[in-house]
């Protein structure tokens, strides 16, 4: 199999309401514009009720399974620290990682029964060294004046892993998936995220 025929696996994780689904939809539009076969799978259902959200995203010449093999993740894009750590075992030893610094406490932590894990970026760096990138998505979105744009900030940061993919594909995808009044904000969010890495 030629190198470019290999399927690439991206795993997105976060918490319901953070916009991880929109982020994966943007990636979908981007990689079909780049000429790849794309499959992505997510479990809907109760995510709006504060549960975790994961998306398996795969692109390549021809993709069969919509879900990634355990341990076969090339790129992890995580919207929340605990939800990043939950999937650390899924990442290949040479996998690349973007972690958002937001913490959202699950009930067992809020109730004082469990500890929120400390030093998540350091844990990742122990295993993945310079392939770990930490982004303050919420802080950047706040500077842009809209916390909702955090997901697109993270997509911007994540886009640095794909230098061969034209930036215009990302911009087109944002324009296609978001209402016109949100275009300027989200394009700025994308650019700001891209610079953050």
């Amino acid at each position: 199999m030629k190198k470019d025929e290999k399927t690439t696996n991206i795993f997105l994780s976060g918490v319901g309401g953070q916009g991880a689904i929109l982020a994966s939809n943007i990636l979908g539009e981007v990689f079909i514009r780049a000429g790849y076969d794309v499959k992505k799978a997510e479990v809907h259902g109760m995510a709006q009720r504060g549960g975790d959200v994961t998306t398996h995203f795969r692109y390549g010449k021809k993709v069969y399974s919509p879900i990634i093999k355990y341990g076969d993740v090339d790129f992890l894009l995580s919207f929340e620290l605990l939800e990043a750590l939950r999937y650390i075992n899924w990442v290949k030893p040479d996998g690349k990682i973007v972690i958002n610094t937001q913490e959202i406490l699950p009930p067992s932590v809020s109730l004082g029964m469990m500890q929120y894990p400390q030093g998540v970026p350091e844990t990742f760096k122990k295993f993945f060294k310079e392939n770990v990138h930490v982004v303050d998505g919420l802080g950047i979105a706040k500077q842009l004046g809209n916390l909702q744009a955090q997901n697109v900030v993270l997509v911007g940061a994540f886009s640095n892993f794909f230098p061969k993919i034209k930036e215009s594909f990302f911009i087109d995808a944002i324009k296609k998936l978001l209402a016109p009044k949100l275009h300027d904000l989200n394009i700025k969010a994308f650019e700001a995220g891209k610079k953050a890495l």
């Binding site: 319901g16 799978a41 709006q48 069969y64 399974s65 605990l82 939950r86 699950p106």
Partner: protein, 604 residues
């Protein structure tokens, strides 16, 4: 350029391209997006949320009998509700094409059980197609209508979560109107009136149809043979095919797109061509049982492939290779991390209602909806969940069994959408059979859990048109609940709710309690925050004793902050409660729970 589309959206698209005129459904994960997508994108199709799956099938089959192409869609348990209609429609056949989409949920991501709906096809003698990606969702939907009209039969389209909720590339086409003329012919009564004298010839017609469909199965491109290896081959369908193809691309495959009836000649050819044949199926050994009964020697099937939960590429790989999957080295033990179960939203009206039921000491016969989350600690105030509408009937039975000594102990709770789906008849039963159950309808003005679908009680259709709105009180009266026993409560007033619930539970007559003015927190059009006096509350650190009472309501906005200290009047404490201002909506439930008046209005 191809489009990226969710499986459910591709089914909607396929229905539109096939010329479908009528689509009906009741929401259920993972099928809900099909009807919503039809309503949002394809104005040529009449679309409706029906009160339940049975009615969706009745509506769609009526349209089909009138000559139109029609679709009913539902989740796997919905098919249990619709089965009575479907099992006889298999006899009558249809005129316009009629497809029933049934979406299974292996691994119960969001369901009360795990069913393999392929069994309905064999049981009901109805052909079934199973797509493996979005393109097939579209193509097979169109094929289903051709098969339906050609063989005069309903056709099932079965998906699973990983097909329904997976996105992949789709080549779309144009809509082609059906050539079938619309109309009803009274002379066709022998075909559609299923009295015994008519049933017997139709029964025979079903068997003849199955023979023809078997022959068709061997010819259709829905089934395909991919011969690569002469040694190893795999028979699979849908998601299982995708996983197997991913890990063993060099094997031969018999991919079954039509999963019932089976292509006997193709299976024979496959076994003659390939030495060692695996049958890889998610859930039941459906093909395997049939193929073994045909006399073939299956190399491996359910002896190595699990018959429950979801498959995955690594499960298939490990099973076929006969050795444990080579997992990466564990970096962090996931079981050491705090889980993140779903929770009722901040401000949700179910939270105070269930807190009141807990304080009232009620045994709660529950139902299917967001409120099922009340089973989770620390609320822990829901004690059964079986199926849509089950709570009312079970509460009645339990009360009858236990007699009057147990009066005041039992309550049935269900949501507005669930009540209209199948909760009205248990209420009527309680009134008729001199029951004393108390039924509480948590009316939050929407079908919540599945993502906000309209129903007969919301006042809107699926397309947002203003519609008739059910009057729950009038329903109660009409089915025989005495007017004095029909009460309204404001669930946000815990004390008052508890008193009303206790009063009604203690009556030796059936009662109906309706939650008023308590819309879902996510239902923007109902302006759910309007009723709250203050937008935000905060813990007064001078007063908080760290008693943790406010944590008992499991509000996502409230957390525990460890740290020894004391109140202004010198009471020692080990920590305090903290209200996250980004999440608090001002519902005042915690204010009522706090014994020390330590939670006070704050400024946003």
């Amino acid at each position: 350029m191809k489009e990226i589309m969710q499986g459910n959206a591709a089914i909607a698209r396929g229905a539109w391209e096939a010329g479908v005129r009528v689509a009906a459904a009741y929401p259920g994960t993972p099928s809900s997006e099909i009807l919503k997508d039809v309503a949002d994108n394809y104005p040529e199709i009449y679309a409706e949320w029906s009160p339940n799956e049975m009615i969706a099938v009745q509506v769609a089959s009526g349209a089909a009998v009138a000559g139109a192409r029609a679709m009913a869609s539902m989740k796997h348990v919905g098919m249990n509700v619709a089965a009575d209609a479907v099992m006889t429609l298999a006899y009558t056949g249809i005129k316009g094409g009629f497809m029933i989409v049934v979406a299974d949920d292996p691994n119960v991501h969001s369901s009360q059980n795990e069913q393999d709906s392929r069994n309905w096809a064999r049981f009901g003698k109805v052909p079934m197609l199973e797509p493996g990606d979005a393109q097939e969702c579209l193509d097979f939907t169109k094929a289903a209508y051709d098969i339906s009209e050609k063989f005069d039969t309903p056709v099932f389209l079965r998906t699973v979560t990983r097909i329904a909720h997976a996105d992949s590339l789709v080549q779309t086409g144009k809509r082609v109107e059906s050539k079938m003329p619309l109309g009803l012919d009274p002379k066709e009564a022998p075909k559609y009136v299923m009295v015994p004298a008519h049933v017997r010839p139709r029964r025979k017609a079903v068997e003849e149809r199955m023979k023809k469909l078997e022959a068709f199965a061997d010819k259709t491109k829905l089934n395909k043979m991919e011969i690569n290896s002469k040694t190893y081959g795999i028979i699979a369908s849908g998601s299982a095919y995708m996983y197997a193809k991913e890990v063993f691309p060099e094997y031969s495959f018999l991919k079954l797109g039509m999963v019932w009836p089976l292509p006997k000649k193709m299976i024979d050819t496959f076994f003659k061509t390939v030495k060692k044949v695996y049958i890889i199926e998610e859930l039941d050994p459906f093909f395997e049982t049939e193929i073994r009964a045909m006399g073939y020697k299956v190399f491996h099937g359910k002896d190595i492939i699990p018959n429950m939960y979801e498959l995955s590429p690594e499960i298939v790989e490990a099973a076929v290779k006969g050795k444990a999957y080579k997992a990466p080295k564990l970096r962090v033990k996931p079981e050491d991390l705090p889980r993140r179960p779903p929770n009722l939203c901040a401000g949700c009206s179910h939270r105070p209602l269930f807190y009141a039921l807990k304080k009232a000491g009620a045994f709660v016969f529950g139902d299917i909806g967001c409120y099922t989350l009340a089973v989770a600690p620390p609320i822990s105030a829901l004690h059964t969940t079986i199926c849509m509408g089950a709570g009312g009937g079970m509460a009645h039975g339990a009360s009858k069994a236990m007699g009057k000594d147990f009066l005041g102990k039992v309550v049935a709770v269900l949501g507005d959408s669930t009540f209209l789906h199948s909760g009205v008849l248990p209420l009527m039963n309680a009134a008729y059979n001199k029951g004393n159950t108390t039924t509480i309808v948590l009316d939050n003005r929407i079908t919540g859990m599945t993502g906000h679908q309209e129903h007969a009680g919301t006042g809107f259709t699926v397309r947002g048109e203003v519609a008739n709105q059910v009057d729950y009180k009038e329903i109660g009266k009409a089915v025989g609940i005495k007017e004095a026993n029909i009460r309204y409560v404001d669930p946000y007033n815990i004390k008052e709710t508890m008193e009303v619930v206790k009063e009604e539970m203690n009556k030796d007559e059936a009662s109906l309690i309706l939650c008023k003015d308590s819309p879902c927190m996510l239902l923007r059009r109902a302006n759910p925050l309007k009723k709250f006096k203050n937008p935000l509350y905060a813990v007064n650190m001078d007063k908080c004793r760290g008693c943790k009472m406010c944590l008992e309501i499991n509000c996502p906005a409230i957390s525990w902050k460890e740290g020894a200290g004391q109140t202004a009047d010198g009471q020692k404490r080990k920590g305090t409660a903290y209200i996250n201002p980004d999440q608090c909506v001002g519902c005042e439930v915690c204010v009522q729970v706090c014994k020390f008046d330590a939670i006070e209005p704050a400024k946003k």
